[in-house]
């Protein structure tokens, strides 16, 4: 369809109107989310202009406070693009905080050894889930649900109480600031932006990325085309597991402790960010940049509620739900448009 709309020489009867072409554009959801973010930011500017909302640091704080969510959401984007779902993200993050804190504090291992171990465990967990999903044809929903239970349970097996990290290298990394002239970013924020850039490259410029889109678009055609469907599926869950573990490390850095109840329900935030970012839940369509905007919108809701001061924290949940609903309905209307 995109080929016909882009060629101006196509016969008049088949060329859709400008509005229809705009509505059929796959980038529209991302644009809508970006626009929403901009409007919310401008709204915040006008409403809280005397409370320091305009300071660039407020904007940069969105990355600092949501870096871990961004990394987790990028991993979930891979899975959702391939037509699956990963519910184990939140527990994997919680497990990584616990695992890292336990190894660093109780076992006295240096951070340089612990970080690769945590990432390897995350990737291995994702790989195992992907392996079971592909080889035994069990629904991703159920397998990752088992993963959710397993990793949350393993958190509790390590320790029931939270472990705070007093290691000097961790605290110096956590407080390190990278100056940008008008403000600063934390190491976590920079790592998350690097992850985003890598994911963007992988999804749009590599063979693996195209396979992910192909499998998400139509698994059967992908299979008939001879794409290595199994390998790609397993790889997608491995990526998600790796990203969750990385997000867990960033989260550890952010709050400098391990707790068995850290990041409960974070998978929902990540899925919501991906959906708000315009990725179709049926798979095959979406952009990782949209996920960035989705995370930023969620982060902005949180900071606006903080600036408002009188609103209680549960309004965050309600606002997220309402936004989720709005975006799902928009997606729905768009996909019906494309079909007709």
């Amino acid at each position: 369809m995109s080929a016909t709309t882009q060629s101006p020489t196509a016969s008049d009867s088949r060329t859709p109107s400008k509005a229809a072409r705009l509505l059929g554009d796959r980038r529209l959801p991302v644009a809508v989310t970006a626009l929403l973010f901009l409007l919310m930011y401008l709204g915040g500017l006008t409403r809280y202009q005397f409370y320091g909302f305009a300071e660039p640091q407020v904007f940069l704080n969105l990355f600092i406070d949501n870096g871990y969510l961004l990394v987790a959401a990028v991993g979930v984007t891979f899975v959702i693009l391939s037509g699956g779902i990963d519910l184990s993200v939140g527990s994997m993050i919680g497990f990584t905080t616990m695992f890292t804190a336990w190894l660093v504090e109780r076992q006295g291992l240096p951070l340089l050894v612990v970080v690769p171990m945590a990432l390897a465990v995350g990737a291995l967990g994702g790989f195992l889930m992907g392996y079971v999903i592909h080889n035994f044809e069990i629904q991703p929903f159920i397998v990752t649900l088992a993963g959710l239970f397993l990793f949350r349970g393993l958190c509790l097996v390590i320790s029931k109480e939270s472990i705070s990290i007093g290691d000097s290298s961790v605290s110096s990394m956590a407080t390190a600031q990278v100056s940008l002239g008008m403000g600063f970013l934390s190491i976590g924020a920079i790592v998350s932006l690097v992850v985003l850039a890598v994911a963007f490259y992988v999804l749009h410029y590599t063979r693996f990325g195209r396979r992910v889109y192909a499998i998400g678009g139509n698994e059967q055609s992908a299979m008939l085309m001879g794409l290595p469907q199994g390998g790609t599926k397993i790889a997608v869950y491995t990526v998600s597991g790796f990203c969750s573990a990385l997000a867990g490390l960033l989260f550890t850095l952010y709050i400098q402790s391990g707790d068995p109840l850290h990041a409960t329900g974070m998978e929902l935030d990540a899925i919501a960010a991906v959906v708000i970012g315009g990725t179709l839940l049926t798979g095959g369509s979406g952009y990782v940049l949209g996920t960035l905007f989705g995370v930023l919108v969620l982060g902005l809701i949180k900071s606006i509620i903080q600036f408002e001061g009188t609103l209680s924290s549960w309004w965050t949940k309600i606002a997220t739900g309402v936004l989720l609903c709005a975006f799902i309905l928009v997606q729905r209307f768009m996909t019906t448009r494309q079909k007709t």
């Binding site: 159920i142 993963g147 929902l268 919501a272 209680s312 997220t320 739900g321 989720l324 609903c325 309905l329």
Partner: protein, 368 residues
């Protein structure tokens, strides 16, 4: 099919029954308890009530059974309802906040009104879910995710972020009271299960639900109002969750917007899967679900009684989910048991090839 002996054919018929594996797991779990607590099966009479491990398993498992029964029908239509936990929280919060506003908290009319209010809210949530799924055509996981996320916020809004405690004896009856020496909640569960079974197996409703789950488009073409069925099913699921919400809040005499019914949707889905209902839709077994829910509750109780540290509860649960799912997966069975049948060779020569052929055919049918 010709089989060498009648005993083996009877055994095969038994193992083929859809309730065989769930029941076997339940019995096994119950038996595991016996070496650790010898009087596990004994039921004592004290204060005019029955006490015993079995009674408490049913008592503590009853909210889960209710939610899982509702979930079974939703899953049978090929959907899923993630919002039940939030609905549990909303119902409990509404009912308790209404009762706590009354001057006389034990007044029967006030309690009934509060329960009606809570259940009404639950049904409205279900209607919204059904509307999104059936009318707007949104994927069920996502459509119900909305209430799952926002619903907890709404519940906290109702309770103002606090835990509302009440002191109402009629309300206490639903979740913590006794009637005819048995916990009252058992009767509620029995009534709901009975109504569900009668409605789905004695009328055409169950067939329609399965038809919609099997192929919504085809069922619409043969004249089934598949949208209406779907909306009904989501409303029923929410109603069940609402009753469970009343039960949970009444058992603790408190409404906690944040923690009431937390993770119950996952447990309920688990119960449905253990009970043998396919997540793809088109087939369901209410009896299997009830057994599945009992398995989960027994598992929890077992972990307590055999002295495994309680924090490993979730790891155990994960192991059970994986084991049950692997057993249900035709591919896994073909890989593991198919090989073993082949190695043994002559025990059931006629059946084994047919078995593998059937299991190999199943995935192919899904693909085409």
């Amino acid at each position: 099919m010709t089989t060498p002996s009648t005993t083996s054919s009877r055994w095969r018929a038994l193992t083929r029954h859809h309730l065989f594996w769930p029941v076997a797991v339940l019995v096994l779990l119950l038996l595991v308890n016996v070496p650790f607590t010898p009087d596990f099966f004994s039921i004592k009479m004290a204060d005019g009530h029955l006490y015993g491990s079995l009674v408490s398993i049913v008592l503590f498992g009853s909210p889960l059974i209710l939610v899982a029964v509702g979930m079974t029908l939703v899953i049978a239509t090929g959907g899923i309802d993630l919002s039940v936990g939030a609905v549990v929280a909303i119902t409990g919060a509404l009912a308790c906040s209404y009762i706590s506003d009354q001057s006389d908290q034990s007044a029967l009319s006030g309690v009934l009104l509060a329960m009606g209010l809570g259940l009404l809210a639950a049904v409205v949530c279900g209607l919204w879910n059904g509307f999104l799924v059936a009318r707007m055509g949104i994927q069920p996981i996502i459509a119900t995710l909305i209430i799952m996320v926002a619903g907890r916020g709404v519940a906290q809004l109702i309770t103002d972020g606090q835990i509302i405690t009440i002191n109402s004896s009629p309300y206490k009856l639903i979740g913590g009271g006794y009637w005819l020496t048995l916990p009252f909640s058992i009767f509620v569960v029995a009534a709901v299960v009975a109504v569900t079974v009668v409605l789905t197996r004695r009328t055409a409703l169950g067939l329609l639900v399965e038809a919609v789950g099997g192929n919504a488009e085809a069922s619409r073409l043969v004249g089934i109002r598949s949208r209406r069925i779907k909306i009904m099913v989501y409303m029923f699921c929410a109603l069940c969750a609402g009753i469970a919400g009343l039960m949970i809040s009444s058992n603790t005499s408190a409404a906690d917007g944040n923690n009431a019914g937390l993770w119950i949707e996952l447990d309920a889905i688990l119960a449905v899967v253990i009970g043998g209902t396919s997540l793809l839709g088109g087939r369901f077994s209410v009896g299997g679900t009830v057994i599945g829910a009992l398995v989960i509750q027994t598992l929890t109780t077992t972990i307590y009684t055999i002295g495994v540290p309680t924090q490993t509860n979730l790891v155990f649960k994960a192991a059970v989910v994986i084991a049950v799912c692997l057993m249900q997966s035709p591919k896994f069975r073909a890989k593991v048991f198919g090989a073993r049948f082949g190695a043994k060779g002559s025990t059931t020569p006629a059946a084994a090839p047919a078995d593998t052929a059937a299991t190999e055919a199943a995935p192919k049918m899904e693909v085409s």
